[in-house]
Every structure is written in structure tokens, then in C-alpha cells.
């Protein structure tokens, strides 16, 4: 169980990025954090990962306070951040260097198989496409079998087709060990396709504006009416989070125009 207790972050330059975020995430849950630019989404994720420490409150994983990176918490960044001097297989096995060689090889091969890149095992990262590189990054983060996996806008740099493909890959991988996923995005459709719960954030300072449960069965049909309805709810919540005085009709109109990418 991952819990955030009144987590706040004020940067040394005085910017108040996060204010009293309280959130409980049960094991295996997929939480998607959504919100406009500068509402502290990434700051929140970095605080959970232990790469940054919050200035107020605390992040607890099973009662342990997280202040530095924890072995049960993996992170996937916006860019793949593969190590260019390691082969694809070397990158995937980066986090399990301490394991015996045969176990490492086995787990790397299995992970590469799951992301569909077995035949690329001996290639260099420079030889991969953007989508393939991000799949390797996902495999690298999952190979140590973390209890919690954090994703910081992992698919935002990819084209629409690749993005949907990778969302499916991610769900597929998640289904194997069911880690807790916390993903930051600004793509409403992505949020609904993946999330059990969507946390909508509002800026200045970053705090939680709304929480929306998505209880659609998986796999989710992006064309269904229920999916569309969920989309409208999220868009409305986002508009409200920015204090835009707009009704549901307006949001409906936006959704109808295909404004699924909400920035």
C-alpha cells in the first residue's frame, strides 16, 4: 500500500509546486494523474520515486518512509533514457546486475519477449525507433519486479498509433504481476484507457482537484459510449480544475470535435 500524507514541495527558489497531496493507492491499482502544464504532476511523481524529497509531509510504502529511490519502486521517464553503451538486453538487465547470470538472462529474455523485442536483444539503442526504445525502457523498469511502477508521461513523445500500441503493451505487462501503476499524462483518452482511478490536479500550487473512478471492464473499447461518457466527465473536471466557467455542453462539444488531447 502506497500512501501520500499531506505531501508538499516548495523549491529553493520559492516556487510552491505541490500543496498537501493526500492519496492512498492499493496494490495493483492503476492511478492516472492528469492536469495542465505546471500543476506539479511530475514533481509529485519524483517525490514518490525518491529522486526528490518533499518539503512537507511524507510518502510511505507499506509504512516505510521514502526519501531515496527504493527497490520496490520503478520509474519510467518521458524519454527512454537507455544507456547507449549497453545493448538492448544489457539495458533491460541493468537493474538486476546482482542476480546470477542465468537468472538474469532468463528474466531479460522473458521481458524482451513480453514487449515483442526478442530479436532486437543484441542491438544498440541507437538502432531502435522511439516506440521500441520506450518498450525497452518499460521492460527495464519491470524486470526487477517493483511493487510500484511510476510513469512520467511515457508516451507523450510518440505518434498516436504507437501510443495506443504501447498502452496495450503496458496493460499486458501489468497483468502479469499487477504492480501498482501511477502514471502522469495529459492525454485524456490514455487516462481512460488505462486508469482505475483518475486524479485531476489543479495548479498554483499543485493540489488534487478531483478524483474520478473508471470502472469500465478491460479491455476497454475506445469507441464505446461509456468510454465517451467517461471522457466527458474527465474533460469537465479538467475545465473545472482551471476555474473555467463552462458547462457540460461545452465539454461535450469539445469531445465531439475530437479534442481528446487535452493540454
Amino acid at each position: 500500500m502506497l500512501s501520500l500524507e499531506r505531501v508538499g514541495k516548495t523549491y529553493p527558489n520559492g516556487v510552491h509546486a505541490l500543496d498537501a497531496i493526500t492519496l492512498g493507492v492499493v496494490p495493483g491499482e492503476i492511478v492516472v494523474v492528469i492536469g495542465g502544464s505546471g500543476c506539479g504532476k511530475s514533481t509529485l511523481l519524483r517525490a514518490i520515486s525518491g529522486l526528490d524529497t518533499p518539503t512537507q509531509g511524507s510518502v510511505l510504502l507499506d509504512g516505510t518512509k521514502i526519501t531515496t529511490p527504493h527497490e520496490q519502486i520503478g520509474i519510467i521517464f518521458q524519454e527512454p533514457r537507455l544507456l547507449p553503451w549497453l545493448t538492448v538486453a544489457g539495458n533491460v538487465g541493468f537493474g538486476i546486475e546482482d542476480r546470477p547470470k542465468h537468472e538474469r538472462a532468463e528474466r531479460v529474455a522473458h521481458a524482451l519477449d513480453r514487449v515483442g523485442l526478442s530479436e532486437k536483444a543484441n542491438m544498440w539503442p541507437r538502432e531502435l525507433s522511439g516506440g521500441q526504445a520506450q518498450r525497452v525502457a518499460i521492460a527495464r523498469a519491470l524486470v526487477p519486479r517493483p511493487q510500484v511502477l511510476l510513469l512520467d508521461e511515457p508516451f507523450s513523445a510518440l505518434d498516436a498509433f504507437t501510443r495506443v500500441d504501447l498502452q496495450d503493451h503496458l496493460l499486458n505487462l501489468w497483468a502479469e504481476f499487477k504492480p501498482t501503476l501511477i502514471m502522469v499524462t495529459h492525454d485524456v483518452e490514455e487516462a481512460i484507457a488505462l486508469a482505475d482511478r483518475i486524479v485531476v490536479m489543479r495548479p498554483h500550487p499543485g493540489r488534487i482537484a478531483d478524483e474520478i473512478e473508471i470502472d469500465l471492464p478491460r479491455p476497454r473499447d475506445r469507441q464505446s459510449a461509456a468510454f465517451d461518457f467517461a471522457k466527458r466527465r474527465v474533460l469537465t473536471a479538467l475545465d473545472r480544475s482551471l476555474d473555467r466557467a463552462v458547462g457540460v455542453e461545452h465539454a461535450e462539444q469539445k469531445a465531439a470535435q475530437g479534442a481528446a488531447m487535452w493540454w
Binding site: S49, L51, T68, P69, H70, E71, G74, I75, F77, E79, R81, L83, P84, W85, L86, F94, G95, E97, W124, P125, R126, P144
Partner: protein, 277 residues
């Protein structure tokens, strides 16, 4: 188009072209010096010039062969090579260690970097009188001068490389909870390697430059001595022979560095001009 050419697949044709390119490209680079040498040889043979100050290739070859046969050449080459090796080794070790420490620790960098940058501004040849006073006229002062020449490019290269390691890649190491030593071994070392090899090559080049300066300041053997000897006895062929020996040795040692580092740098995403592929 002939039938045979029509039957060759594009792959086969490309393979043939690649095989030819492997030989024809270095040949292209040789065309200019060889052409000039041949032209000069002909001019001297035809008597348009006596070739006394600018000896033709045949005379240089003769001189080279004589030096090689008498064992003179080997003696001078070994003396020079030994000085370069020791000086280069000392300069590399010092430059790498200080560069790594100064790159890693901001405090150390603030303390030592300004002084070293100041010393770097001194043309290294200017140290010669001081080194002779301190270390005598024999090997020690020569090796010290070479080491100083090699030290600076390597120190600067290592500091620059460490400071320019991508923060995002270092963060990957942090996310996987690498300890300080593991971070150095698994992230920092591979990340600085390409720039390090470049600075090693620059250092080696300067090492060869400084060995001549060192041997000019009074040596009884070495290729630099051969140069001075050729000048004082009026033997331009001997000077050119020594210069050629320098060129060959410099190229060989540089190639050794390149070849030794190549297996570790295969991952590099380098710009490769289209015609080189």
C-alpha cells in the same frame, strides 16, 4: 548494359563496389604525396635541380636504409619512444586522476582548476630552462616536459567529459540505487569514454611534439638529435628521414589508441557521412 552486369543483383554490385572502395579510398589519399615525390625525382634526375637542399625520394630512401642497416635508426627510435612512453604514461595518469577528481568534486575543482588553467596558459616550452635547472640535462627533465605537455589536454578532456555527462542518464543510475562506486563504473566511466579517447589522442600528439623540443635541448640520441645532427652537418636527407620516422611512429601510436578503444566505442551514435557507408 551487358548481360553479365544485368544479372548481378544490386547486393552483389554493392559488395563489389565496397571491396574496391576499401582499397581505392586510401589510394586516393596517397596520390598527392606520391605524385609530388615522383615529379621531384624526375626533375632531379633530369638535372633541372641538384636536389642538395631538397633531396629527391631516392636519396632519402638511401639515407633511411643506411641508418636502418647500421642500427643507428633503431637506437634513436628506441630512445625517443622510451621518452614518449614514460612521459605520456606519467602525464596520462596525472591528467586522468586530477581530471576525474576535479570533475567529480566541485570543491576540488574550485581549488585546483584556476591554478591549472593559469599554468596551461604558459607555453610548455617555457618550462625548459626551469626543468633543466631543477632536474638536470638528462632524461628526467625531458620526460617531465613531455608529461606536462600530455597532462593538460587529458586533464581538460576528462574534466569536461565528467561535467557534460547527461543528468538524465545519471538519474537512471540513481533510480536503480547505484552506489557511488557502481555509479562511476556503470554510468560515468562509459559515458566519458568517447571524450576520454579523444583527449588521449590529443595528449599523445602533444607528447610527440614535446619529445622533439626535449631532444633539442641537448640529447646524444633520439630522433630529435638526428634532426639537429642533420642540420649541423648539412645533411637534409637525414633530417627528412628523421621527420618520416616521426610521422610513421606518430601514426602508428595513434592507430594503436584508436584500435584499442574501438571495441568499447562501437555503441557510439556518430555522424557517418553517406559515402563512408
Amino acid at each position: 548494359m551487358t548481360i553479365a552486369a544485368g544479372q548481378a543483383t544490386p547486393e552483389q554490385r554493392r559488395a563489389t563496389r565496397d571491396r574496391m572502395a576499401r582499397w581505392s579510398r586510401p589510394m586516393l589519399g596517397l596520390a598527392l604525396p606520391v605524385g609530388l615525390a615522383v615529379v621531384w625525382e624526375i626533375i632531379v634526375r633530369l638535372g633541372f635541380s641538384d636536389g642538395r637542399l631538397v633531396p629527391p625520394p631516392s636519396r632519402i630512401y638511401q639515407e633511411f636504409a643506411e641508418l636502418a642497416q647500421s642500427g643507428e635508426l633503431l637506437r634513436h627510435v628506441i630512445a625517443t619512444l622510451l621518452r614518449v612512453t614514460v612521459g605520456f604514461g606519467l602525464g596520462t595518469v596525472a591528467g586522468t586522476l586530477l581530471g576525474a577528481i576535479a570533475g567529480y568534486s566541485a570543491l576540488v575543482r574550485r581549488v585546483i582548476d584556476p591554478s591549472l588553467q593559469g599554468l596551461r596558459a604558459v607555453p610548455s616550452i617555457a618550462w625548459i630552462p626551469l626543468f633543466i635547472l631543477w632536474l638536470g640535462i638528462f632524461e628526467t627533465s625531458k620526460v617531465a616536459l613531455i608529461a606536462v605537455g600530455v597532462f593538460f589536454p587529458i586533464y581538460l578532456g576528462v574534466v569536461g567529459a565528467v561535467l557534460s555527462v547527461d543528468r538524465k542518464i545519471v538519474e537512471v543510475g540513481r533510480a536503480f540505487r547505484l552506489s557511488g562506486a557502481a555509479m562511476v563504473r556503470r554510468i560515468l566511466l562509459p559515458a566519458v569514454l568517447p571524450a576520454y579517447v579523444v583527449s588521449i589522442r590529443a595528449g599523445l600528439g602533444l607528447g610527440w611534439m614535446f619529445v622533439i623540443a626535449a631532444e633539442f635541448m641537448g640529447a646524444s640520441e633520439g630522433l630529435g638529435y638526428l634532426l639537429i645532427d642533420g642540420q649541423q652537418l648539412g645533411k637534409p636527407a637525414e633530417i627528412v628521414a628523421a621527420i618520416l620516422a616521426f610521422a610513421v611512429l606518430g601514426k602508428i601510436t595513434d592507430a594503436i589508441v584508436v584500435l584499442a578503444s574501438a571495441p568499447f566505442l562501437r555503441w557510439e551514435d556518430k555522424f557517418r557521412p553517406a559515402s563512408e557507408n
